[in-house]
Symmetry: C2
Subunit: 341 residues, 2 copies
């Protein structure tokens, strides 16, 4: 910048004023501006974000804390975040909590110390109490995505998990299913809400039969073990709702391994609509997550609108609607002997 000033014959502050963009408090002569810009270009000047940040300005960094990048759903979400951020000239700093509680806490510290202009949390971190605590009173705005339950201490963008599960269950009931099992993950965030929605629905219909609600790790192996557990039941379900697509993938795999035909003998559904859901065998009936819309909403809140740290009650907490996607993994219930034939 000093070089630009020398080359143009003006002072360094003038260069700064011209180059810092539109928001010039004081007017600047047009020819000066042009000369500065030309010089800057010829010198290949690029502002130093570190210095900008030091000076108390924006760092144009968006911190993202995610539980598990390997989860195809979150991978897609990160892509969406990256796109939205880039559209605003922001870069994404990745914080990877990979499941460990203390990690996420440290992460927040790191991200905040890096003076991220904003922090986005992907997934529920409520099993890490200190994190939530640190978040309050944070000078940098934080938005939680797919946090599930909303403890009202933080801004968030959520999906209507209950509506999604209800749509799935209604679809199955419409196909004639009465014995519907649910494969849940840890009672955290979205997954927990989905489980609760299932329980509510079943309670209205007489309660959850023993063993119809199973827990597993949120990955394909979890789906395998979940199906195994349900098949050990005396009166196994004719349909299994998985709280997640990756879980459903495991379900399909396990069913195939046991010679159970989907959907003739067993209907399977997922949640999220990850890219591969369309190409599972058979193609998975699932609930489509409005990922891009949700991410866009979150980034807009974070960067464009700017949450007022002083007034948490004013923070928006939009809840978006998911939509049912019917594919080939669900079908009408078939009489048992026919199915087994």
């Amino acid at each position: 910048m000093r070089d630009v000033a020398r080359l143009t014959g003006v002072s360094q502050s003038t260069v700064s004023r011209v180059l810092s963009g539109a928001a010039t408090a004081v007017p600047i002569a047009d020819d000066t501006r042009e000369r500065v810009i030309a010089a800057a270009r010829s010198l290949g000047y690029r502002p130093n974000p570190l210095a900008r940040g030091l000076r108390g300005m924006k760092t144009m960094l968006l911190g993202v804390i995610v539980r598990d990048i390997t989860d195809p759903f979150f991978a897609g979400a990160i892509e969406a975040v990256s796109l939205e951020a880039a559209a605003r000239g922001y870069n994404v700093v990745l914080g990877h909590a990979h499941g460990r509680a203390d990690e996420a806490i440290a992460l927040w510290g790191v991200l905040e110390a890096r003076h991220c202009d904003a922090i986005l949390m992907l997934g529920d971190m409520s099993d890490q109490p200190r994190l939530a605590e640190d978040l309050r009173g944070s000078p940098v705005p934080v938005v939680a995505l797919w946090e599930g339950s909303k403890p009202a201490g933080i801004a968030s963008v959520s999906v209507d998990n209950r509506a999604g599960i209800r749509a799935v269950l209604a679809h199955l009931v419409g196909l004639g299913h009465r014995r519907i099992g649910f494969l849940a993950g840890r009672r955290l965030g979205d997954i927990r809400e989905r489980e609760d929605a299932y329980v509510e629905f079943m309670t209205d219909g007489g309660g959850v039969p023993d063993g119809y609600l199973q827990y597993a790790s949120n990955d394909p192996p979890g789906g395998v073990s979940g199906l195994t557990a349900m098949l050990e039941l005396g009166d196994p379900p004719t349909a299994v709702v998985a709280s997640t697509d990756v879980l459903a993938m495991g379900l399909l795999f396990a069913a195939h391994g046991r010679g159970i035909h989907v959907p003739e003998q067993l209907s399977v559904t997922g949640f999220d609509d990850i890219p591969l859901a369309e190409f599972s065998i058979p193609a998975l009936t699932t609930v489509r997550m409005p990922t891009r819309e949700m991410v866009a909403a979150a980034v807009t809140m974070l960067i464009d609108d700017g949450l007022d740290p002083a007034d948490p009650s004013a923070w928006p907490r939009p809840i978006l609607a998911p939509s049912l996607v019917v594919r080939a993994s669900t079908g009408p219930v078939v009489a048992r002997d026919t199915a087994n034939a």
Copy 2:
């Protein structure tokens, strides 16, 4: 830091010397050091990375340029990078090129301007000539992962794609297959090398039959269209080698949709061994990528060893070996009429 100095009763420089870690040029009284540390802790002092970076020190930022985060393979790679980086106190800044040529170029500029201490490129970006050009003479060390061809102008860590493909082909030949097709992606990086390896292998055996080498986008839909194209052949292959697991997923899906049994009527293989490969239907025979080892090697080169920018010829370019994983998607070739029965 000023507060710490005041509280301790020493000067700010002393505080800096104590807190900047081990590399103290001059000795410091033990009690002073302890008092400073205690004060810093009680005040909750945390160094400001921006100021550190400004002062010309390390910024502890590792830039990662990736083509497509949605690709499950790269998602896993990013996780590995994140882990390795975290182990060294580094944060990951994500640069997402999402396919567009100009994007990746801009990305490099951004990452460099951000004073990343090092940059990691995931996947081949050689279709973006300006990027490669900018990379030379870059003050910050760059390592390319899965770049495939090695133009010797950049440090890299690669996998032996030829060995992987040869292992797959030998496996298929051992099962009796002679009519083996190959589904390739764009002629870029690893995928290109795999294709070349296939062509070489087939050339030794009499050449690639017409239509046995097909191209498609590197995703499940690509696999679907690839299979369609091959089945239109008068004498379709009995086995198809996909250059990628996601492609193989599409292949399996398309085969199922057409009522073709895998592996009885058609053997299918992939490459990468993404987490879901083990749970495809049937479980995918593929080539396991030594992702963690490769990432560890790259990060070690980048951060621990530190490449000498002055001497590109001295840059290491290790090539790691993949390994064949035989699962259920490959089987012995079956007489055509039997298979069709």
